[in-house]
């Protein structure tokens, strides 16, 4: 029986590349595709894939929240998170969300097949950097007993995170309500709770919070050299 894989990425060109890569492997099939986190969750529930590959930075519902939802629904789902960054915060969130694989998009051509194979064998797959971070975390816990714990930052509920993402993406309360099948009043209540919990005073503050906490992702701003140092061109 073939291993069934669900792909979730908002860029079709990336999904085409992932399909081309994974379908070379005999015994694997792409059973479905999703263009945002919400669709990924719906399709996973419907298609029951063996492995779900999710991009972190998707609209509507990001990959980390989609992963949380999937695993709340069924802890047996095996999820590989694809990301453009291996920042500590992103790694921690992916692990906390329950992902069993973590692959950088820039290395996907090299690592993704190995990641799927690992999950197929009921192992996990993380890049060396993630392994280092996990190990550092274990070691730090051993030293933490003698230190006082820092105060816990307020955390948002899954629903509040969803609404934070939609509002930070520029939707109005009414549009967010429509996307979530809630009343506008309910969304506005959640919005007030979010702002109060996080001590935010404006939508701009909310957007900044969402970016800092990887609820939404933005393109890197281009500097005057457009993202790469100028070097001398090859000599003739």
């Amino acid at each position: 029986m073939k291993l069934r894989i669900l792909l979730a990425d908002d860029h079709e060109i990336v999904r085409r590349g992932l399909c081309a890569l994974l379908q070379k492997h005999e015994g694997w099939e792409i059973c479905g595709e999703a263009t945002d986190g919400r669709e990924a969750v719906e399709k996973a529930k419907e298609l029951k894939p063996d492995v779900v590959i999710v991009d972190i930075g998707m609209p509507n519902l990001n990959g980390l929240d989609a992963t949380r939802r999937l695993l709340q629904y069924d802890p047996n789902f095996k999820v590989i998170v694809l990301t453009v960054t291996d920042a500590d915060q992103v790694i921690r969130e992916a692990l906390d969300a329950g992902a069993r694989g973590f692959v950088l998009k820039s290395d996907a051509a090299r690592d993704l097949v190995a990641a799927v194979e690992a999950l197929q064998s009921r192992h996990m797959f993380f890049t060396p950097r993630v392994n280092d971070l996990v190990l550092a975390g274990f070691l730090e816990k051993g030293h933490a007993a003698s230190r006082s714990e820092p105060p816990q930052l307020p955390t948002l509920t899954p629903r509040e995170r969803e609404i934070t993402q939609l509002l930070a993406e520029g939707r109005s309360s009414k549009e967010a309500a429509s996307a979530l099948n809630l009343s506008t009043k309910t969304v506005e209540t959640h919005r007030s709770n979010i702002m109060r919990k996080l001590s935010l005073h404006s939508i701009r503050d909310l957007v900044v919070y969402a970016i800092k906490n990887k609820i939404i992702q933005i393109e890197m701003p281009m500097d005057s050299n457009h993202g790469a140092a100028k070097v001398s061109p090859p000599s003739q």
Partner: protein, 138 residues
């Protein structure tokens, strides 16, 4: 039918794989090489002599706009099509000013790429941002 020889330059192999799989649908399109950074893209453009170079804007070692300027100076018959995540009219203007004939956004690349290649290979302009309908102007 004349074959359009295409060089792909993007630092993500998965994106290059995706572009290749879309291009393979069109008879007459041949991917002659791939590059993962700007310096490699220039070298391969010179050695492989493609008709069209598909470029990302943000690449290591030399960014896509610089590659476009230099390539168009050295190889005036080579046309450049940008496929980029920068869904920005400002960036598109810069790309066209650098000598590119085409500009499509990655989120719609699967939809727009083949039309863009057809136009650009005929030395015609093709631009498409997500906020605007594709513009297949001359």
């Amino acid at each position: 039918m004349m074959t359009t020889r295409i060089l792909l330059a993007d630092d993500h192999p998965i994106v290059r794989e995706g572009l290749r799989s879309v291009l393979q649908r069109r008879p007459g399109c041949e991917v002659v090489g791939e590059a993962s950074d700007g310096i490699d893209a220039l070298k391969k453009a010179e050695s492989l002599q493609p008709n069209v170079m598909i470029l990302d804007v943000t690449m290591p070692r030399l960014n896509g706009l610089e590659v476009c300027r230099l390539a168009r100076q050295r190889m005036p018959d080579l046309e450049v099509l940008f496929v980029t995540q920068h869904d920005s009219a400002q960036m598109m203007r810069e790309a066209l000013a650098a000598g590119a004939k085409g500009y499509v956004v990655k989120s719609n690349a699967a939809r727009d790429l083949l039309d863009a290649i057809e136009r650009v290979s005929q030395h015609r302009v093709f631009t498409a941002l997500t906020t605007r309908e594709p513009d297949a102007g001359d």
